[in-house]
Symmetry: C2
């Protein structure tokens, strides 16, 4: 029997328990609750666990993360149990959702649908000149599983595609840049900047005034990673100056975005409530069960987080 | 020397003349003007020619159309010169534009971005349940060059794809239906109906109350073909009843859409000013020049319009 300790930040655990029961009938799943004693468990499955859970996480063989990033756990730093492997999900249905979100935003800006909507609300019939596609390069920051999936979905539309990653990567049809040295060139040629980075000390605030100023004039920003990647006041300044034409943001420093936040008042900023990619429960449970099977047999699994790199 | 008679409905002929000069230096291009005598010409290149031009079209070896449909010429019926071949362009850059337009509209409805935009305008942060993708089948009416291109661009997003055509066709990954017999089944399973048909007497008003009622409740309509395909009052009725959740329309019975038209007042109808696919001049001229070369050598060319079928 495998014992699993489950935590969901939203408290919605019933459907997860049912999915585990279906995929792994011999597993015993317990919901973690603050202040209640915890029996010995084999594995923990968590989403943004509270600090109070850390002591219990020290006792498991591995911790499975069910969100797209590891930052919600790694933020605890040295307070984390040092020797327990932390395991990310692979795509788990998030890649295609990110592709949907990003493709929609890119096409909306490229074909000026935001402007057509504003015109239609005013009862205006006015064809606008099209952006030349050769000037509409899409630059994806972060070429992990999700960034790669987004680039693949954009390929049929014929945009010039660029990607940047910390370490060198190659992807067919994509102009690839890497490391600190490659960042400037990457930014200077990216008309649309798509942030899909993991959040680490190195990437926090990466999209700041200095880096956004390197984008071509009239650039667009799409952020589907973490709010902390973007210096929010800098973005507002560059939008007001016109250097950034518009931004689509799914993530923010504080979520829900506070009602007093100036982004709400800026029509060139499109706000969505952190919905670009939801963890798909069934796919996630299947992946975790498959990985537990391998771990129980002493085999290696994909997705083990490198704590020094932060992802 | 090849003599070409040129007509553009918008009167913007200079750039076309220059492109012909570059692609076919030995051609002589003359602009057609009402009431002016016309010398003998080899070929005509037209976009929605006026009735007054028909007599001159009788004297050429072939008529090239530069728009996406043949309806703007075939509407003259028996007044057309009977023996002059009418030649459509192939894709000429329109396919990818249609794909951009349709993919944007599909993703916007699937991911509820229209609702998120309305929420954001009201300062609301509220994640909405996602539509299950298996229920979000995309049905493309018309599987010609453009319809096929649109289906191919939608493939990476994993929607169930369906297509309907007058005659039997097959396309990998697409559930194909054809003819009058196949239409009902096609409609009953299409959550999003994308109209990409040629306009012919058979397809005029095809998207009427009876056919739209066969779509699943909460269906979406996207029309990038011709306004006359859709019975506009029927669409309004079905949107008000909720059977059609929303529509994105690029084409209308009367264009520009008259300012008194009720569509302007219906927030569930998205209006764009006939911009889904512009004829790309350079690509078009290259194609026409290539086809003229073949015709001059007595060879066959693609895209000859079948007048009895209307496309």
């Amino acid at each position: 029997m495998t014992r699993i300790l489950l935590h969901r930040a939203d408290g919605k655990t019933d459907a997860w328990v049912k999915d585990f029961a279906r995929c792994m009938p011999d597993a015993e799943v317990e919901i973690w609750r603050a202040g209640e004693p915890v029996a010995p468990y084999d594995y923990a499955v968590v989403w943004s666990p509270p600090e109070a859970m850390l002591a219990d996480l020290a006792k498991v063989k591995a911790i499975f993360l069910t969100g797209a990033g590891a930052d919600g756990l790694l933020k605890f730093g040295d307070a984390l149990p040092p020797n327990v492997p932390i395991i990310r999900l692979g795509d788990a249905g998030m890649g295609v959702q990110m592709a949907e979100y990003v493709a929609h935003a890119v096409l909306r800006y490229f074909r000026r649908f935001d402007e057509y909507e504003a015109q239609a609300r005013a009862g205006q019939w006015l064809p606008l000149p099209q952006h030349p596609k050769e000037d509409f390069s899409i630059g994806v920051l972060g070429m992990g599983v999700l960034g790669t999936r987004v680039l693949e979905a954009l390929a049929p539309f014929g945009f010039p595609l660029r990607g940047w990653s910390r370490t060198e990567k190659t992807l067919p049809g994509v102009q690839c840049y890497h490391g600190a040295d490659g960042l400037d060139t990457f930014l200077r040629g990216s008309r649309v900047l798509v942030c899909m980075l993991p959040l680490t000390p190195d990437t926090s605030n990466l999209v700041d005034r200095s880096n956004m100023s390197k984008l071509p004039a009239g650039a667009y920003l799409i952020n589907v990673a973490r709010g902390a990647h973007v210096a929010e006041p800098d973005l507002l300044t560059l939008i007001k100056s016109g250097h950034i034409a518009a931004a689509t943001l799914d993530v923010f420093r504080n979520e829900p975005l506070p009602s007093q936040h100036p982004f709400w008042q800026e029509p060139r900023i499109t706000i969505t409530p952190h919905i670009s990619a939801l963890t798909l429960r069934r796919e996630s449970v299947q992946q975790i069960v498959e990985k537990i099977g391998r771990l129980n047999k002493g085999e290696a699994v994909d997705g083990v987080v490198d704590r020094t790199q932060g992802y």
